[in-house]
């Protein structure tokens, strides 16, 4: 396997960043309570790998659960909204309005309703991530070329035929674009909810470590979040490339 320069640069940049960080901490004698050096962070990661791993799994599962709910709901509602251009035009502004409510503000309400635990985290992940899916699926369906629809209708195609043969396949790039965004948002939602009120998860771990003045552990939690987030995004980016490769090559690169 040949490794191109492009593949190495992100790694090189990351390593360089850590080296700079480490050097700055040494040079300016930054208190590890303010900003721990990478070496201290990695040490904390090794020392606390057990709790880090356990809480990472909790965050992963609440994120995944919220995200899956969002996918199921989002696709369903997206198909309803995108079914006809009239519904789409009527509902689109309403959805955008709803989406502009900061979901974080809902977390305390969810905690009051469902108590401290995993359910508020799952619901926050769901709430925050399902709009982009609805909007993108609906847009993919509602923007089917009217002339293509005419061609098929003149052949006697039903609305369902048109959805099956054209609407749903052409939604692919929109959907995968939305999934990449949604998984990241679900993750944010889950972690925010965990920092506000939970008894497990990376967000919870970081808050606890912070109140015990264990700064290196807080940063170790942050590092675990970064790794988890990048991995989840990467999974969807690869899936997208595999499943809708035509959209990358044709002029109809629609996802956004």
């Amino acid at each position: 396997m040949k490794i191109a320069a492009e593949d190495i640069t992100p790694v090189a940049f990351t390593v360089a960043l850590f080296v700079l960080w480490e050097a700055a901490c040494l040079l300016f004698r930054i208190d590890s309570f303010i900003l721990p050096a990478p070496s201290q962070i990695f040490a904390a990661m090794v020392q606390y790998w057990g709790p880090l791993l356990r809480n990472s799994f909790v965050t992963l599962w609440t994120t995944a659960a919220g995200f899956l709910l969002a996918v199921a709901f989002g696709i369903g509602l997206g198909v309803v909204v995108g079914w006809s251009r009239a519904i789409y035009r009527g509902l689109y502004p309403v959805m955008i309005g709803f989406n502009s409510i900061p979901k974080v503000a809902v977390v305390p309400i969810l905690i009051m309703w469902f108590g401290i635990g995993e359910i508020p985290a799952i619901l926050t992940a769901f709430l925050i991530s399902f709009f982009p899916i609805v909007v993108n699926v609906a847009t993919g369906l509602a923007t089917t070329e009217p002339e293509l629809e005419d061609v098929l209708r003149a052949l006697g195609a039903s609305k369902l035929d048109i959805m099956r043969k054209v609407g749903i396949p052409r939604t692919g790039p929109y959907l995968f674009g939305a999934l990449k965004v949604a998984i990241t948002l679900a993750f944010v939602g889950a972690v925010v909810s965990e920092t506000i009120g939970a008894n497990a998860g990376l967000g919870h771990l970081m808050v606890q470590a912070g109140s015990n003045f264990q700064m290196p552990l807080v940063f170790a939690g942050l590092m675990a979040l970064a790794i988890e987030g990048i991995l989840m995004y990467a999974v969807f980016a690869v899936m997208e490339k595999r499943m809708v490769s035509w959209a990358f090559r044709s002029s109809m690169s629609a996802a956004g």
Binding site: E145, E147, L148, D150, V151, L152, R153, A154, L155, G156, A157, D161, K165, V166, P169, R170, G172, V244, W246, A247, R249, S250, S251, M252
Partner: protein, 259 residues
């Protein structure tokens, strides 16, 4: 094959009612190649939608094949200026799309896939795309995509082919090539054609009759028979009589645009 009796069509848009067609009458015989020309916005696309049953007339009556049109006619193939091929399907699968929808074929397609495949490949052969069957639309030029689009509109052997400015986006050479392709397809398969165009040479070269429409609200203001014998070679385009025909059509259009 097609009859419009005193058809009026109004759209209810945001800016009130727009009358696209007013008291239009038209007759196209079985197997005839009819062309419709007229200034832009005069209701040509509306006429196509009426004939295929995609919209219903506000007043008057549309008949296709002896029966009044009350819904999509199902015996028509259509092609537009944009080829509109599906980018996730190969050319062959794009051409076979109507077979997955039209009534007798959709049930048989599963069992007789190979026979239908052969039929699609033969049709692609007629337009010179046999070797491109497994390519994807985005790998092909605009002219090739339009050839594939023509095949898609003909694969279910429709009795009626409706073409709405199908060659308008192509360069002059490619356009002439496709005129020949369409001429040969029509002579071979004998379907009825309505071709909307604003290229008067295109109408003159291909059609048996040319219907000239007035500015909106559209109406057929003149119908010309084109007498050049068949099969017509491309050389007919340089015949003085052909130039005269195009010239007088040109004047007629200029006249109705003034009015």
């Amino acid at each position: 094959m097609i009859r419009l009796h005193d058809v009026t069509l109004s759209y209810r848009g945001r800016a009130g009612e727009v009358t696209a067609l007013a008291h239009t009458s038209l007759a196209v015989g079985k197997g005839e190649f009819a062309a419709v020309v007229g200034p832009s916005g005069c209701g040509k696309s509306t006429l196509m939608k009426l004939v295929t049953g995609l919209i219903r007339p506000t007043k008057g009556k549309v008949e296709v094949d002896g029966a009044e049109v009350t819904g999509p006619v199902k015996i028509a193939g259509m092609a537009f200026q944009a080829a509109n091929l599906l980018p996730w399907r190969s050319v062959l699968d794009n051409v076979m799309l109507p077979l997955e929808i039209v009534a007798p074929h959709r049930g048989r397609l599963g069992r007789e896939r190979d026979a239908y495949r052969t039929r699609a490949l033969d049709l692609l052969g007629v337009v010179g795309l046999r070797d491109f069957a497994d390519r994807y639309p985005w790998e092909m030029s605009g002219g090739m995509q339009q050839r594939a689009s023509l095949c898609r509109s003909l694969i279910h052997e429709p009795e009626l082919l409706m073409l709405d400015e199908p060659f308008a986006a192509l360069d002059a050479f490619t356009r002439e090539e496709l005129w020949v392709v369409l001429r040969d397809l029509w002579q071979r398969l004998g379907f009825t054609v309505v071709l909307v165009t604003h290229d008067l040479r295109e109408a003159g070269f291909l059609a048996d009759t040319i219907h000239v429409m007035s500015a909106r609200p559209g109406q057929i203001v003149e119908t010309r028979r084109v007498a050049f014998p068949r099969p017509r070679p491309l050389d007919v385009l340089y015949d003085p009589a052909f130039t005269d025909l195009v010239h007088s059509l040109r004047n007629k259009i200029a006249e109705v645009r003034q009015a």
